[in-house]
């Protein structure tokens, strides 16, 4: 029962996670614990498995082995190995809020309705309750003035801020960010990072895959470095960026303009 006890306190608890695509092992026995209120950044070169790891957390990718608990509840399969029925899976998934690289807003709905859609139709909130929440969240991400615009009229940075509000509206136990600024024009990156930084200051639990090293250093509580599906280094950001233990990370940071302390 020790596993259940530890996962109760953690927002996300990943144990012995492995995943292969055909013959390629993309995740190998990954262990990760994200405490409530903690910001964990996953770093690694492309193909290291970091996006796959993130996408396993809400079962967009199905791992081959291992277990994942979200706020104490197992996702995807039951402890006896039975696959979870779709409705139950959807319920656990709704405890996570995911922000994608490509925004993935629903273009036929305006900004407000993008944010209220899941709370009303998945969580069964009343329209009024959902709209109040959405208005507050859009305010938080600085998008309330665009509440009746459609996504096709927004810039990338604006879309991503709406997508963040949409994920927050699920009131998730953990926010998952999959390279949230990689598809943005350089001058739009800042506005999105500023929103995420505010969230971290407010104590949101977040797991983030990013290439923004200075940002990772500024907001993370824990930095995890993934290499060929293995976590080869994990540390607090100061230690990670100033005195990495492995040559691999040192080399990676050299190539990524290791940021000076903010």
């Amino acid at each position: 029962m020790s596993e259940a006890n530890t996962s109760e306190t953690a927002a996300v608890s990943i144990r012995h996670l492995s995943k292969s695509f055909d013959d390629v092992e993309v995740l190998r026995d990954v262990e990760l614990e994200v405490k409530t209120g903690e910001v964990v950044t996953i770093i690694g070169s492309s193909g290291s498995g970091k996006s796959t790891l993130l996408r396993c957390i809400n079962w967009l990718e199905k791992p081959d082995r291992g277990s994942i608990h979200i706020a104490g509840q197992r996702i995807g399969v039951h402890d006896d190995g039975r696959p979870m029925p779709v409705r139950e899976l959807a319920k656990v998934r709704a405890k996570t809020g995911m922000v994608f690289q490509g925004f993935n807003l629903w273009p036929h709905l305006n900004v407000l309705h993008n944010v209220t859609e899941a709370p009303i139709h998945v969580q069964g909130k009343s329209k009024r309750e959902a709209e109040e929440l959405a208005t507050a969240l859009l305010e938080k991400v600085g998008m309330s003035h665009k509440h009746d615009s459609y996504p096709n009229t927004l810039s990338g940075g604006q879309k991503q801020r709406v997508a963040i509000a949409r994920a927050l509206a699920m009131q998730p136990a953990v926010m998952l960010f999959d390279e949230p600024t990689s598809a943005l024009d350089p001058e739009l990156v800042g506005e999105v990072l500023a929103v995420i930084k505010d969230l971290s200051a407010e104590g949101y639990t977040m797991v983030m895959v990013t290439h923004e090293m200075a940002f990772a250093r500024a907001v993370s509580d824990q930095v995890v470095f993934l290499e060929k599906g293995l976590i080869i280094e994990r540390a607090d950001p100061e230690t990670f960026f100033t005195s990495p233990k492995t040559d691999r990370v040192r080399k990676f940071l050299e190539n990524h303009d290791n940021p000076s302390p903010a």
């Binding site: 273009p107 859609e117 096709n152």
Partner: protein, 221 residues
């Protein structure tokens, strides 16, 4: 008395034929739309045992001339104990036939539906049914609006075939007047006017709907 005067005196026949055509058309396209959407939904499934027969059905409808389907329903079904009157056979044939076309049009758009949006829906806890009706279907309809408009016009024109299975609609009215008074040209020019009026009205409505989808970035009006 000119031929046109004769037709004017018989306007009640045209009018009732016109209303009958509108009724048949309206009912059958609603049916076709529901069938098209249902087929699209069923094709979402991954079980081949279900999707294969549906694909075969859609393809069969597409290779079948409409008139033959109407014949089959009206003359063929009684031999297996199902007897529909001409009117319901006609409506049924139109709905099934164009429903298959609707499904095919929807499917083309569904195949290019951005997978990221599906992932976003899953990540937000959507299950299949809600995802389909709230997120996929509305977009598929907006996306395919111009093609649906075309298909509606085909469906309208196919209503004229029903004269052959004795449905009294617009073409039947013209047929009967032309043979009673031997004035085929004038009689058929009048029904062309009626069909044209329905088509143009429909086109305007479809175009107006285009504004709705253009605002959401789906296409240009």
């Amino acid at each position: 008395m000119s031929n046109w005067d004769i037709l004017w005196d018989e306007r009640a026949q045209f009018w009732s034929g016109f209303l009958s055509t509108l009724e048949i058309f309206g009912l059958s396209i609603v049916g076709a739309f529901v069938i098209g959407c249902s087929l699209l939904y069923l094709l979402e499934g991954s079980r081949k045992r279900l999707t294969m027969p549906l694909r075969i059905f859609i393809d069969a409808m597409r290779m079948l001339p409409f008139l033959i389907l109407a014949y089959l329903l009206y003359y063929g079904l009684p031999s297996v104990g199902i007897r529909l009157d001409a009117w319901w056979s006609g409506v049924g044939a139109l709905a099934v036939y164009h429903g298959a076309y609707f499904a095919e049009i929807f499917r083309g758009s569904r195949l290019t539906f951005p997978p990221g949006q599906i992932e976003a829906a899953k990540a937000h806890g959507f299950t299949k049914g809600k995802m389909f009706f709230r997120l996929i279907l509305p977009q598929v309809i907006m996306q395919t609006r111009p093609l649906l408009g075309n298909q509606l016009i085909y469906a309208l024109k196919d209503t004229a075939f029903l004269v052959i299975i004795t449905v009294s609609e617009l073409t039947a009215a013209a047929n009967s007047l032309s043979s009673t008074y031997f004035i085929p040209t004038e009689a058929f020019i009048v029904v062309i006017g009626f069909y044209w009026a329905i088509s143009v009205t429909m086109e305007i409505i479809i175009k107006q709907c285009g504004r709705f989808s253009a605002k959401r970035g789906f296409d240009n009006v």
